[in-house]
């Protein structure tokens, strides 16, 4: 008899959700509808929420200026490609005109295929995998691609002569980590950097790193490259400290945020270097204003994801203004004008000045080398 009850419940719920979604009234458009998906719940929620919060601030500021008006909606994808596609479709039902893509790489690869199919302009703040912009005509990125980060890091280490023997610890089941590693290795080989130790970890084995660190230490590595997000990176650094191993640490943009870990001993991460396009402690007027506003509203220091999202909204607004786009344009028309703008315009944002995009959709901006000094990021050179 369970099945009858289940059937009844099923029917009731189906009817409820269909009626809830139906009956959208056609009204005069008064704003551009911008949508995005990101992990607002789950383990990657910190990135999704940072992006959402920063995008909200940017939209508020732009609307307050009285020029073009924007309307923003973020849907949760829980860092899952399947959920991202349904989140994207629910945004489509909402009447989205411009798509901010997904925050994380894998979901964004799925949504970019859908967007390409439906002709939506896509500008992702932080999905750094190359598949997002490759083989499609709609995807643009505000962040560096993974390969770009890897080779930039190798170049930087080589240019500054930071280390002679390099060890790499990476997360083998993470797209971001392996993506950066691959190009780092390629560039390192080209620049004749010596990689003496290369060890991996994965989900579930990300709490104890003594084996990896021992390997690096035994082989006499004086620089350890950590292409990963900051949570495991912090553990690695603190465990190395317990072992009495003190090499130079070098991270990529995922390392940004290591100072915001609750209860973290910031003295441990003193001297950690990372490449990131954004510095929250910058004295730059725009950045300072954004950081202040973000802190007031959400009580924390914005990370690089937030800055990228903020730039995304401003870049779109600038392109819309330049193109004199009107609210009643549909997604196909907007794709056309925005693509034209993005491949020709220059944009000054928090994460760099004079950013340009190539026809693929990859951004050109220069990463800044940062070092952690007195529990703050300080620009190198």
């Amino acid at each position: 008899m369970k099945k009858i009850l289940a059937l009844i419940i099923a029917v009731v719920m189906m009817v409820a959700c269909f009626t809830a979604c139906g009956g959208q009234a056609e009204t005069e458009a008064t704003a551009f509808k911008i949508g995005g998906t990101g992990p607002l719940t789950g383990p990657a929620a910190i990135y999704g929420n940072a992006v959402k919060n920063a995008a909200e601030i940017a939209v508020e500021e732009i609307n307050a200026k009285g020029g073009i008006q924007l309307e923003l909606k973020y849907e949760d994808d829980a860092h899952d490609a399947e959920k991202a596609v349904s989140a994207y479709n629910s945004l489509k039902d909402w009447g989205m005109q411009i798509f901010l893509g997904s925050v994380t790489s894998k979901p964004c690869e799925a949504t970019v295929a859908e967007a390409a199919n439906d002709n939506y302009f896509l500008l992702t703040p932080s999905a750094s995998s190359t598949a997002v912009i490759k083989d499609n005509d709609v995807g643009f990125q505000m962040c560096f691609t993974d390969p770009n980060q890897g080779s930039a890091s190798a170049q930087y280490i080589s240019d500054k002569g930071l280390g002679k023997k390099i060890a790499v610890i990476y997360k083998s089941d993470d797209v971001y980590s392996t993506g950066v590693l691959e190009t780092f290795k390629a560039k390192a080989a080209e620049l004749k950097l010596q990689i003496v130790s290369e060890t991996a970890f994965a989900d579930g084995t990300d709490t104890d790193f003594t084996a990896q660190l021992k390997d690096a230490q035994d082989k006499g590595a004086d620089l350890v490259f950590l292409p990963m997000y900051y949570t495991p990176a912090y553990l690695i650094i603190s465990q190395a400290n317990q072992m009495g191993y003190a090499p130079t640490w070098f991270g990529v943009d995922g390392m940004d945020g290591v100072l915001t870990i609750e209860g973290a001993d910031t003295s441990l991460v003193e001297g950690v270097m990372l490449l990131t396009p954004f510095n929250a402690d910058s004295t730059d007027e725009k950045t300072a204003a954004f950081v202040k506003k973000y802190q007031e509203k959400f009580g924390e220091v914005p990370n690089q994801f937030a800055a990228d999202a903020y730039d995304c909204v401003y870049a779109i607004a600038q392109a819309l203004e330049n193109a004199k786009a009107t609210y009643d344009m549909d997604n196909v028309k907007l794709l056309e004008v925005l693509k034209e703008q993005f491949t020709s315009m220059k944009f000054d944002g928090l994460t760099g000045d004079g950013m340009t995009w190539d026809t693929d959709g990859a951004v050109t901006k220069s990463p800044k080398g940062m070092i952690i000094k007195d529990a703050a990021y300080v620009g190198l050179d």
Binding site: M1, Y88, N89, K106, S177, T178
Partner: protein
């Protein structure tokens, strides 16, 4: 005629009818452009999860063994299906045929894994078996996160574990790229294919259950010792059910992966296995129509709850608890039994009048 209207036949028939009616209704809604695109995008996942629930129900409900690694078979099917589809893209141009070939290959590969895993696993029973299936699910996941497979311009395959295959020549293409998984998949899954897969799964499962094999499997479930005494080959029948279940899951996996442009092994983790088990438990063990409904409802529900924004998953969890309680409530059960009896009684009366 009498034979056709036997109780279990009616039950089976109602499953087919439910699926066909649902399919027709959805097609009409799509045709009339009355279905929001979010629900349209859910149709294929719903089909996939229905097939997954049906196949797991074969292991859990009919064979009576708890499997916690069913997503592993889905993963095998998904990776095989996508790799085949990418490799044969130029050879087979008809997408429906390509999809069919990918699904069949996915099913075969999953069946092979079913045999490999079944040999050690089916020596165990109960909790031990459940734990070992869980472990195998994790092994499969870990295998695929470290698997690299490339195809060179001449069509030769190169496989590497943990690192990229070293003999890869210039101009070759990576099919499976370790933890990055597979990207750039051509989306060829269709709702119709999903519908056909459900119907095929139902035909396979119902006919197996009704056959000599099915009776033997259920005898093992109900009393293993008695079944052994009668001379039933326990290992053979257990294996049959397990491999069949794995194969169907493999086909579903192929359908799933070809619906997205990207696929990674971490999707098919323990959580997915549990999710499918939830469908089966909610729908009732051994109850196929229940699995269909449960899978459909629980796949649509979290998406339909998007209007609750931040509280979405909380509401989902509460609804899940309520459904579980309601379907197991003795008062409600009694109430429905009464209705059932009343209907039956009425039918009998009518039958008498007809005479």
């Amino acid at each position: 005629m009498k034979k056709l209207l036997r109780k279990d036949n009616i039950k089976n028939l109602s499953s087919y009818i439910l699926v066909i009616v649902a399919f027709v209704v959805c097609q009409i809604l799509i045709g009339a452009k009355a279905m929001p695109s979010m629900y349209q995008s859910l149709l294929i996942p719903v089909c996939v999860y229905i097939v997954m629930a049906l196949s797991l129900n074969l292991t859990v409900g009919i064979l009576g063994e708890l499997s916690l690694g069913h997503a592993g078979f889905m993963s095998v099917g998904a990776f095989t299906g996508v790799a085949i589809a990418l490799a044969l893209k130029e050879v087979i141009t008809a997408t429906w045929l390509l999809l069919a070939v990918a699904m069949v290959c996915g099913a075969i590969m999953a069946a092979i894994f079913g045999v490999i895993i079944g040999i050690p696993v089916l020596r165990l029973k109960g909790d031990y078996l459940a734990i070992v299936t869980l472990a195998f699910g994790e092994i499969i996941k870990s295998l695929f996160t470290n698997l690299y497979m490339g195809i060179d311009p001449e069509g030769g395959f190169h496989i590497g574990l943990i690192t990229k295959p070293e003999d890869l020549v210039e101009g070759s293409k990576m099919l499976i790229n370790g933890s990055i998984g597979i990207s750039g998949v051509q989306k060829i899954s269709t709702f119709t294919a999903g519908f056909i897969l459900i119907i095929i799964s139902l035909i396979i499962i119902f006919n197996t259950v009704k056959s000599r094999t099915g009776r033997a499997i259920m005898a093992i479930r109900d009393n293993r010792i008695a079944a052994e005494c009668v001379g039933i080959n326990i290992t053979k029948y257990k294996m049959t059910a397990f491999v069949l279940s794995a194969a169907i899951a493999g086909a579903a996996g192929a359908l799933y992966s070809l619906n997205y442009s990207t696929i990674s092994a971490t999707k098919f983790d323990f959580n997915t296995s549990i999710l499918i088990l939830v469908f089966v438990v909610l729908g009732g063990q051994g109850n196929m129509i229940g699995s269909i409904i449960a899978a459909a409802v629980l796949t649509i529900l979290p998406e339909a709850l998007r209007q609750f924004a931040d509280y979405r998953m909380l509401v989902y969890a509460i609804v899940l608890i309520l459904i579980m309680l309601a379907t197991n409530n003795p008062t409600l059960k009694m109430f429905f039994d009464k209705i059932k009896k009343a209907i039956r009684f009425k039918k009998k009366e009518e039958a008498k009048e007809d005479m």
